[in-house]
Amino acid sequence: MIKAAEAMVKCLENEGVKVVFGYPGAAICPFYDELTHSDIHHVLVRREDNAGHAASGYARISGKPAVCIATSGPGATNLLTAIATAYADSIPIVCITGQVSTDQIGCDVFQEVDITGAAEPFVKYSYLIKDAAQLPRIFKEAFYLAGSGRKGPVLIDVPVDIQQTMIDFDYPESVELRTYKPTVKGNTMQIKKVCEALKAAERPLICAGGGVIAADACRELRDFAEKTRIPVVSTMMGLGIFPTEHPLYMGMLGMHGVRTANEAVSKCDTMLLIGARVGDRAVCSPKFLAETTKIIHIDVDPAEIGKNIHVDIPLVGDCKNILGELSAHIDNAERKDWLEELSRVKNTVPHEDETQGYVNPKMFIRKLSAKLPENTVCVADVGQNQIWTCNNFNFKGGRFLTSGGMGTMGYSIPAAIGAKMASLESEVVAVCGDGSFQMQMMELATIVQEKLPVKIILMRNNRLGMVRELQTNQYGDNQTAVHIADGNPDFVALAKSYGINAERVCTMAEAEAAIEHLCESAEPYLLECNVWRNESTL
């Protein structure tokens, strides 16, 4: 017999967990006590939501469910934003929260909150453990649920007395869930129909989303597109699947996307959506699109098909598996005219102006990505900085992470910490705004404590830029609650006070020199770019 708290640690070890992100408190102390006897490395973040975001970054790079930990009450509620963020982007994380003692549940005791209830709308599944003997089974299930089918966050709430209970530990080898059997293989009839529809199409287009990355199917998608010569656009979550300069790649579609991609969408006669959920920012008027275009939708989650757009050919299953099947059954094609038409639009390079005394953020991102190694993990925050990064970063084979579905400010630095922990050999760069930086700047401490050479780009425009732009365009330029200059600290001095090297640049020439320093640095590094306050997103 062992303590359930020790069993929790053993469960994690059995799942191959090497790193966890968390923040302690009384209700989770038995677990923390046992964790010291394990080789699992605990990263102490400075706020619980960042433990969730760090786990998200770790999970996205490692491809496996990652773990975050918080105590009961405020610790658990602080985690909520990260859980919702992971849910919106289908990121597999397992969240462990401490809970008050079972005999006190429901009495509104100190730091008691119904966290399984609060998180219910945005978890894939949750458990409140009431019988310690069930703990090994629950952990096994939680990891399986988080990382299979359509991935997502799973929450395990463990009352403190349960953690102290003695149990027989036997980690199950497999899960038995009669209700949960994600479809992997695509229906043969439907696969045939897809092949026929694509063969008949004159101007087909692939729209690839985050599901392709989640299914580890980037290679398969590229093979398929190259074989059939079908051009590709991606959603924000799908950025990085295709190298930016690939001849078949037309860029990111949607409200914040590029002209080539949106033109491809409006001109195509058949659209193959794969691992993309037709979010409103990607496809603003799905009704209109479906009227003029034959829609094929491939997704592992049947509930996504037909939810936001009328679909002509649905195909449920794992992208990787299905793309393999499709490639095997479809003929090679040329599509010269269609591709030529699109490349004409693609090759018109937009002109960028430099404003005196400022760094042009779009040019900066292009210059930066040209200098970064191919396997760079780029993490963008939310706002103008995010869109500048999406549309100007030259993806070559690395990864792009951002909070696409929720648009959670404060995601980039903690997610970069997680990504770096998962892949110490990769360069990891976080791009954020001066607003979002201040939602996460406490994590500079984590970077220092963990000695993680994460690089940070801070685009200081002294505005909550994206909201400022919205007010300019849609509220008669009535700028309110978006001016942050008066409160902004000296970011360079702030970084230095943590012992992080930092530089401020105000011209492109300075920026280019600083990019060299950033790339050469083997330590964490913060680069503040002075960006014009009225710079536009697109």
Partner: protein, 163 residues
């Protein structure tokens, strides 16, 4: 349009709140909801009557299927289901009115389950439509209180939810 949906679920803590949460979250309107354990004590059966067009019901079925606790979801076609709802009604009834009420109950298939000097308590189990008709007939006596369960439904003939 009204739709009757039967759901088999794992009899876990929290499953009902997951289902009802899903309805409110996705903006589906529930007319009635009834839950009870089945012949297998680990499985509960939920019957939901909801309002919406074809697209809504399809979405509903998919979302319900997506819940980890869901074993089976079936939208029952109106012409292939047998449905029942139970109602208890307390009405004003003087001793002179009793036999008249008794006649109505006999014809409508209701039972008298309690009586007091000035009231009677009636029980009726039938389709929602039949219950509404009964209520109309009994209304003139003065309804003091009504309680009703949600609708439960089963398929006609030999078919079951499992096939």
């Amino acid at each position: 349009m009204k739709h009757t949906i039967s759901i088999l679920v794992e009899n876990h803590a929290g499953v009902l709140s997951r289902i009802s949460g899903l309805f409110s979250r996705r903006g589906f309107n529930i007319d009635s909801l009834a839950v009870g354990v089945t012949d297998d004590p680990k499985v509960s059966r939920v019957t939901i009557v909801a309002d919406g067009d074809e697209h809504t019901v399809e979405q509903l079925e998919k979302q319900l299927n997506k819940l980890i606790d869901t074993i089976k979801v079936k939208a029952l076609e109106p012409d292939e289901l047998l449905s029942r709802e139970l109602q208890l009604i307390k009405i004003n009834a003087s001793s002179q009115q009793r036999s008249e009420i008794l006649t109505i109950c006999e014809i409508m298939g209701a039972r008298i389950i309690d009586i007091s000097p000035n009231t009677m308590t009636l029980e009726i189990s039938d389709t929602t439509m039949h219950l509404a008709r009964f209520e109309e007939l009994i209304k003139p006596y003065g309804i003091k209180e009504i309680v009703r369960t949600g609708v439960i439904a089963i398929q006609k003939g030999a078919d079951t939810i499992k096939k």
